[in-house]
Subunit: 344 residues, 4 copies
Amino acid sequence: MDVGIVGSTGYGGVELYRLLSNHPNVSECILYSSSLDGTSYAEEYPHLSGLSGEKVKPILLEEMQQLDFVFLAAPSGVSRELAQNLIGKKVKVIDLSGDLRLKNPREYEEWYKGESAPKHILDKAVYGLTELNRETIREADLIANPGCFPTATLLGLAPLFHHGLTKPHSLIIDAKTGLSGAGRKATQSSHFSETQENLRIYKVHEHQHTPEIEQQLKIWDSETGPITFSTHLIPMTRGIMVTMYAELKNTSTTGELHSLYHSFFEGSPFIRVRREGQFPSTKEVFGTNFCDVSIKADPRTNRVTIVSVIDNLVKGAAGQAVQNMNVMLGIDETTGLHYYPIYP
Amino acid sequence: MDVGIVGSTGYGGVELYRLLSNHPNVSECILYSSSLDGTSYAEEYPHLSGLSGEKVKPILLEEMQQLDFVFLAAPSGVSRELAQNLIGKKVKVIDLSGDLRLKNPREYEEWYKGESAPKHILDKAVYGLTELNRETIREADLIANPGCFPTATLLGLAPLFHHGLTKPHSLIIDAKTGLSGAGRKATQSSHFSETQENLRIYKVHEHQHTPEIEQQLKIWDSETGPITFSTHLIPMTRGIMVTMYAELKNTSTTGELHSLYHSFFEGSPFIRVRREGQFPSTKEVFGTNFCDVSIKADPRTNRVTIVSVIDNLVKGAAGQAVQNMNVMLGIDETTGLHYYPIYP
Amino acid sequence: MDVGIVGSTGYGGVELYRLLSNHPNVSECILYSSSLDGTSYAEEYPHLSGLSGEKVKPILLEEMQQLDFVFLAAPSGVSRELAQNLIGKKVKVIDLSGDLRLKNPREYEEWYKGESAPKHILDKAVYGLTELNRETIREADLIANPGCFPTATLLGLAPLFHHGLTKPHSLIIDAKTGLSGAGRKATQSSHFSETQENLRIYKVHEHQHTPEIEQQLKIWDSETGPITFSTHLIPMTRGIMVTMYAELKNTSTTGELHSLYHSFFEGSPFIRVRREGQFPSTKEVFGTNFCDVSIKADPRTNRVTIVSVIDNLVKGAAGQAVQNMNVMLGIDETTGLHYYPIYP
Amino acid sequence: MDVGIVGSTGYGGVELYRLLSNHPNVSECILYSSSLDGTSYAEEYPHLSGLSGEKVKPILLEEMQQLDFVFLAAPSGVSRELAQNLIGKKVKVIDLSGDLRLKNPREYEEWYKGESAPKHILDKAVYGLTELNRETIREADLIANPGCFPTATLLGLAPLFHHGLTKPHSLIIDAKTGLSGAGRKATQSSHFSETQENLRIYKVHEHQHTPEIEQQLKIWDSETGPITFSTHLIPMTRGIMVTMYAELKNTSTTGELHSLYHSFFEGSPFIRVRREGQFPSTKEVFGTNFCDVSIKADPRTNRVTIVSVIDNLVKGAAGQAVQNMNVMLGIDETTGLHYYPIYP
């Protein structure tokens, strides 16, 4: 099977390359970039010395249309254009940008401050939250791969919201991410000296992943109100932790909630619901496609605290994309993703 | 003026030493420790080579009673005993442990899992949140210096709760701290290899600073309900950020709230309310006694997000203790605390 | 094939588990520990939740003797005793400690400050520097797996010393390592707050890897004099860089030296000699068994600078041990070690 | 006294501001920048909120000429031009760039790849290695403030080279620095995700501080040959450690060498020669003007290992500049530099 990666020189792209190069069903993995075409991949990423002899190609639409899969790891805006030129051809498209996730074009325009993809494309795109959408993903030609924060958040909340257990308007999401989520571009805010031994909050009430989370929660529980979602930059490279707070409609014990989570995620090999009383940390999923989750009820407040961790570049991007490819191929969804966390 | 530091070999103690050694009103700074007495201070802390020639003394109650000030930076439990032997003497006592902060002994026993100090001592102890309690601190002989999380939290919430602007039962506090807050003891969870590139949550719904925060909030706004408070370990050494979420009773704009904060903290040189739209980061207060605060209203949810940052060892411990000493001495509260943040 | 790991709860042990669990020739991987037997492995290492359901066993000599391979990742001293009870049985032994590396018992006693293994065991142990010793490793029953620093150092120097190109007495080795090399034990010097934003030198002129390096260099070039070897602790978890300086007997250009290195390491898939002018960094081998090397001649001084990097827990310990097992099995030496570096 | 800082928005500039703002002899500290003039300083550096209300000015030569001191913290090339327009006026100039350090213009052109300052300016500039040059600094109008690596290196070597104790051609200098030394500009190599958990070597045999070190060593010991000097980037923000290796002409014990160092640096309050057997780490001088040094002889090789640490932005730049200003003013050289290291 021949696959292509657009945006191959970004962090999402190079992580796709790591996973796809070792995937047993992939025979060739072609690299594309609109900005760095012509460069040697191993020169751009010396950790690939001896592993990649390839040169990065420019965007070659006709060639891409004939591939089996193409992964779009380009920035928002770029992806939208490419997707339109690839659908309806042989190739199946998995888009890792935010361009095709929001069904309502007005929401895209409001939160992304740019022009939305046309409605017929948005309608065609299947939201690739694998564990929750396997059936539709299997039949899809075009996947809108979820954002990193929505992945961790929605997996952490799915059992609660599926069963309508929380009060509307009570959800607070406090998200924390490593720096790699901001991409490879050198900016003042990704400068080591400004980041190390520092902790920052950003895009308060304005993060573009907010409507993506709300859209999905409302599908599960139509009473869901607007959420409070904030994001923090942690002085580490990989990893997302999302701490979520919600009020329960009725009283539940931590034990009952854990049972609910365990049964909800049965058959989902990448979701590890931790034992009662144990909360996951980001390093415990480093380099893998796992999403580890725990929940605890507080009888004092009748609120629950839910914690969900992922590696933002794997389950939050490239890994889930490969998982979706596996589902579309009808093979075991863990194929090519059998990595153990690197620890310490 | 002669001062003493008990628990001088811990991180709180050595930070007190840094500040007191350069304080213009302090002529001698005597070091005590119950566990490491007899050791050379500069041998224990080589960064003090040439700056401290002192040996650490054992606990000498009679000597301490004759000092002008003694700072108790010993663990909870130890402090309680010492305080009882020092009050009623010449010396004024500033206790940095949690032993004397909770007025209700049952709350101490529930959250600290140990025996409370006797009620008459608790009654005597003045809660040393300097900016809010200057008048009573000035007259006090015994200060219960606030915890690091309560300091950042309460300073971030004081204007709102003083004016009763938030709905009861709506407060969520998501706190993040560097590792130095956990002290100098070598433990598995403070091991570099387990901490670096890692993000952890701990003591979910069980942190002993919870009742300390609630006690003070209820003084300001008696309707305050139980809070949700969670704490995270950030892979950095110093710094606390507290992100707080609350629902407003009425609608307010971010501008109105900033005005409120600015006027509330007028005359408080260590509180820097940031301009509208700018949120502080922990590194921006590194090594100093500042507490930087910002707030933003979200019209979508009618909630506010408040962010407060401190250096946990300065404003969250040693710095605020020195600030309280200054107030007790009737001198400018910034004396000996004129440090600029070290950046980067 | 059934294999065992002694010292499975240390960092070397858990890294062996990561590699062996995914190794196609290993059917069972049994965990032993003298100190933590009885504990659940996934409770000790929650990153293995769902991946390991095993309990750690005590040292069971008879059981071990019947395994195909046993890896000793126990501390120096422990290993020596165990090895004596395992040789001569069915099991092949790969010892990752320093106990069996020095052929001269007096050197062991001088540098390790402990009793050496008996001479007949030392004589039996084959030094497992895979790339240089494949033939003897293939026939061995007992492997002394090289130390982390010697691995990086010797691979960086092998081409030069094999050809006798450097002046005796001119070699200086400046080594830098991440914290995981110091093991999992919580100590003052592994405390995050003492390590982060800090750089330390340790064991100056006294590091126990010194005689191990000298022993091998003298085999290659009998004129080799005593070396200067120093080690530094870098605020990172994984990775070793060794910077080596030596004077050339004759003049060589960087190009000539690169040609020499390339041809020397032909057929060694884990050694990546970088292109002229490009030096490797530790992150470029993170999580893998690669050793990346570069060299540069300085016509001003007629010295060369050689840089060699490895992941200390992989090529410097567990990875090279598995590579040696592969050689002993007569299978492709990269089996089970096809990992791409995780970057960033 | 009125002083100016050119290049005030860089890391060297903002560190000068920290020190000069708290200096008792400085009444006004004016900020200049050729690139960011017009911006509010506290907006550029929010850690200065409430501490600096100033706007950054453009380069105003006439105004600068009337100041008491001007510090040039601009990049190489810029400094050279400015210095020419400032000398001969009232103002005394302390240049922190590399433009005026090399007395031989050809060396500048070879190592800096740019045009040298005119010879008469170079002749006028006094090399500001304070501890070694106090007498000439006192009389100077123009100071070439030493580079960060040369400062640590030369202070570590001065006693040995003054007494001609080492063999010519035997010196190897292995330097390690935090990221802040590379300045504030956002580049690929200063990106957090490429730097964290990474260790790199750069400019092998090509670092522009090489001739600066050689120039000074030859003044002390004319037999000094070309040195080997290499530099590594450590994943930390501040701090330089230089590890130096040299062969002794005759045998000396560590004790004898420590005595030599202690007496050599008597009267130098910022040089802390550590006790025999104790080596300094970078964090032990964090935020201060100290240079901590230790030395150890190795009888096996007759080489010595010398370790020297500084904070690159203080003793390696702004702090030494202020120290030089103090010497030029004839006041205590520690004025305004009484900081204790921040630890941890």
